[in-house]
Assembly symmetry: C2
């Protein structure tokens, strides 16, 4: 096995979030499905942006948020994802590198612009996402830096990578390199509609042992097993023989393996501002614990802590230093 | 007098704020003067950005923030300022227009990029600003839309316009049009170092009656009259015969005319997050009151309310609807 340089490598869509407040009437008028992620093309991105209110811009992307969260916990982290060499892509790369994260992917010099996710946050703190994938469509197997995968204890892959066609090949290649190097592979299911689009493929990844660790929220898990009953879905996941982590918003999380089942509560919060990044940061905390060889309950508590931080402000990247926060809460 | 279409027209530098947290050691290492605004060139902007932590991007600009605040109060507002037709400029224009603000200035098609202010926010909530003026240097008298000035009850000008050479001419032209149309002209002194750079010119504007209303904070006022004693400086301002409004952070504000002096307390806050925009939003609230013919104390309370909103989150534009907030506080 090559020497371990990184605790976690993330592979995901490199996206900048454009966040505006909106009310439910706006979502209805624009035909947006509250709480979900919808893929949009560039003309739609422009027309939706034109009708949105004033916006703030934050780097985002599901796996990228997780990797930044890991760096904030003091973990050694790397990220692979595709931007274009434009102003937005420059900002994304700056923010990743500012956290000390290894980011070996070259920016596309032409083609579609850096991906943007237009995020509408309603007064209840729920976010509704509209993603123009742009340059993410250029991520392919050539971007999978073999040495980085081999040197990472866990390679973390987002389900959203199934949307841009060539990214799927990058995903499969990265998983194969990781396993050949004796490393672990984690998958997040990303979104219930993403699961709808690729259910059989995701189940295939789990059953062929392409992935060892699966993150999902309750909606994604029910979608995966096509059942309205959470316990049925959880039992099905347990039977897969993976390490499964299922988040349930304010009801905390469940961690399952064939042998163990743990229910772990959420961290209390003062005020819910914006749920963007909750699942991403949960995964960050969990993996920060796992790569420090913490027990599964501590991992889930670290996940809950990181999620509680990110939902109390706008944007999907932590504002606090998560290592300090974990120490203050007796988790490190 | 032409009919009044706008309560306030703002003329200012069109800037996008790139906000990152930083500690005092970072400010020392980068030779930054805490709490002030420093002008930087593009290479310095790039090197400082490269050394900054992950950042969020918000539209900014002093007068632009004030105008957005006015729109949030339900006032009719217009803005003149120069961006370039790049991604950053597109975002700035979107955010202004999303608030229903009339924005007649054309974007520069070439030349320097849209202005950026690199804002470092320290744990005490103080902000330190580093401005690359970029396309603002292209604002000139031709950008002063005569009809918009004539149709605005108050034309509000930022002292920072003295930095890009041609903008000064735009400032003087706008003031002349406003007065010829029987309108009022307001000036904000912007920054103590800005006052240092242009003290005689600012005093000239006041004494030649180019401006009728002057906004300053205590540091700017002391710089204007080159005295360490606040009361001496305030007396000097009162003697100018303008309407003078001086903000003093948590100690509230003073409103002076030759005949009247009012001390008005600040609004209580829960947590200071980022002082960026405090003065800009104070001016917004004050002018929102003034253009509704409110008494001077109510104007200052509206200013204090708007300032209290903006310092409790990152970014210099209000997140709340200020009209609703003013109604909840019995000010409208």
């Amino acid at each position: 096995m090559s020497s371990r340089q990184y605790d976690v490598l993330g592979l995901g869509n490199a996206i900048v979030d454009v966040i505006a407040r909106a009310d439910d009437d706006f979502l209805a008028k624009e035909n947006l499905n509250k709480g979900s992620m919808m893929l949009i093309d560039e003309p739609r991105a422009e027309s939706l942006y034109a009708s949105m209110g004033q916006a703030s811009v934050f780097s985002g992307g599901s796996a990228a948020n997780t990797i930044v969260g890991l760096a904030s916990f003091g973990s050694k982290a790397a990220f692979i994802g595709k931007v274009r060499a434009d102003e937005t892509g420059h900002a994304f790369a700056h923010d990743i590198r500012a956290m000390g994260i290894h980011f070996p992917t070259s920016a596309a010099q032409d083609g579609p612009s850096t991906a943007r996710c237009l995020v509408l946050v309603t007064p209840d703190g729920e976010r509704t996402m509209n993603t123009y994938l742009g340059a993410c469509q250029k991520l392919g197997p050539d971007d999978v830096d073999e040495a980085t995968v081999q040197a990472s204890a866990i390679t973390y892959l987002e389900g959203y990578l199934w949307d841009p066609p060539a990214a799927k090949e990058a995903f499969v290649k990265a998983a194969a390199i990781a396993h050949a190097a004796g490393r672990q592979v984690a998958l997040t299911l990303s979104d219930p509609f993403c699961v709808d689009r690729y259910r059989d493929e995701f189940l295939g990844l789990i059953r062929k042992k392409t992935v060892d660790i699966v993150f999902a929220n309750q909606h994604e898990l029910r979608s995966l097993y096509q059942t309205a009953d959470f316990d049925t879905a959880l039992a099905a996941l347990r039977d897969e023989g993976v390490l499964g982590i299922v988040t349930r918003s304010e009801h905390g999380s469940m961690v399952v393996t064939r042998e163990e089942t743990h229910a772990v509560p959420a961290f209390p919060i003062e005020k819910l501002v914006d749920t963007t990044g909750a699942g991403d940061l949960f995964a960050a905390g969990f993996l920060a614990g796992l790569t420090r060889d913490a027990d599964l309950v501590t991992c889930a508590r670290m996940g809950a802590l990181a999620a509680s931080e990110v939902i109390q402000h706008y944007g999907a990247r932590p504002e606090a230093n998560l290592r300090d926060l974990a120490q203050q809460n007796g988790l490190l």
